[in-house]
């Protein structure tokens, strides 16, 4: 498909149209719109290469997904090969916020505070079903999707996602950054 080819040409090899005959979804529309604006100069490409090759995450492990996030640091699913093994304790030194776990209403304020303390450019991965949509906890205590609080770049489904799934999400994020897709705060605001 034409859109599929354009995705691949801009470097987003992992993205696929899920249902080719159905027509583009919101995400593909978004990417298609961005493509007009995206045209990276060599300098921007170099900067994007540097950003993706050492995108340091912040230690924001909340619940079960945090245990699988710790697995990607371990030797089998090593993310040190992506340059990402130093999980920074301070958000001021981190580029990537992997929200791993369910966010309760009490935790929502600290989450936003941590996000605000990060310096731009910054990216957010919503890891797991609870961060993406509230998961199995559709109740009074859990915020139904972390994108109500911070703008999210990549949603990784799973309960908890396998380490490979999280690494796939990270790789897609890297590809998007290298293709020139701006971080989520430039593209969309928080959901309502």
């Amino acid at each position: 498909m034409a859109l599929d080819k354009r995705l691949r040409e801009s470097g987003l090899q992992s993205e696929r149209l899920l249902w080719p005959t159905k027509g583009p979804s919101h995400y593909e529309d978004e990417v298609a719109n961005l493509e007009q604006d995206v045209g990276l100069t060599t300098l921007e490409k170099a900067v994007a290469w540097a950003q993706t090759n050492s995108m340091w995450p912040d230690t924001f492990g909340l619940a079960c997904c945090a245990i699988e996030m710790m697995s990607i640091v371990s030797s089998r699913y090593d993310i040190a090969r992506f340059g990402m093994e130093p999980f920074r304790g301070s958000p001021r030194q981190a580029d990537l916020l992997i929200v791993s776990g369910r966010v309760s209403h009490k935790m929502a304020a600290p989450l936003r505070q941590i996000y605000d303390q990060m310096l731009e450019p910054k990216w957010v991965i919503a890891m797991g079903a609870c961060a993406s949509s509230g998961g199995m906890f559709n109740n009074y205590a859990i915020v139904q999707s972390v994108d109500k609080i911070v703008p999210v770049d990549v949603y990784v489904p799973g309960c908890p996602p396998r380490p490979e799934q999280l690494v796939e999400g990270i790789i897609r994020l890297h590809e998007a950054v290298r293709a020139g897709v701006p971080p989520a705060y430039d593209v969309r605001s928080v959901a309502s």
Binding site: S25, K106, G134, F137, N138, N139, Y140, A141, I142, Q144
Partner: protein, 186 residues
């Protein structure tokens, strides 16, 4: 058959001692709760408070449910209630039951459940002076069920925000959450 002298006869404020599923439940009055707790800790060696649970029985018995429909081996024609006749469970004395699960870490290990009943608005005397571990347990039941513990040194909300309204685990508090929106639907 002569009535056996039960070991719980000397328990202050004992209303009922029952045994089901190999568990003993001792129901005491609210006023003698602390005395009963102290008696159990000192005389019967129940030095360990495992758990403190409050249960809200609002709406109990409104749905006609029966237990297990049929028995483990199938329908028992000689036992009418096992054919699936709906029965309403027996009503409870008050709205809330506060259960203290006690354990005796000693040469003679055993467990017992101390139970007391409260209504909405009644306060339960605290057992923090008897078992210090009750501190957070009582705070949690206050937070989630709204049961006030008299004499607790630090009765503030523990799991929810300080300024949260309501007590979520009560039966008249809604589950909350949001209606699930499907993609393609606006």
């Amino acid at each position: 058959m002569p009535a056996a002298v039960s070991e719980w006869d000397a328990l202050p404020g004992l209303v009922e001692a029952s045994e089901r599923h190999h568990e003993t439940t001792l129901v005491v009055t609210l006023e003698s709760l602390v005395d009963a707790a102290t008696y159990l800790r000192d005389e019967s060696d129940f030095n360990f408070l495992s758990d403190l649970t409050a249960v809200d029985y609002l709406g109990w018995g409104e749905r006609a449910v029966s237990g297990y429909i049929g028995t483990a081996t199938g329908r028992d024609l000689n036992n009418p209630m096992t054919q699936g006749y709906q029965a309403v469970p027996l009503p409870k004395p008050k709205r809330f039951a506060v259960n203290y699960h006690l354990l005796s870490i000693s040469e003679r290990p055993r467990r017992v459940r101390l139970q007391t009943w409260v209504d909405e608005g009644e306060a339960v005397p605290t057992v923090v002076r008897v078992w210090p571990t009750a501190d957070w347990h009582e705070r949690e039941q206050f937070d989630l069920m709204g049961i006030v513990f008299d004499g607790h040194p630090n009765l503030v909300r523990i799991l929810l925000d300080e300024d949260w309204d309501g007590h979520p685990l009560r039966k008249d508090y809604p589950i909350g959450g949001e209606p699930v929106r499907f993609s393609g639907q606006e």
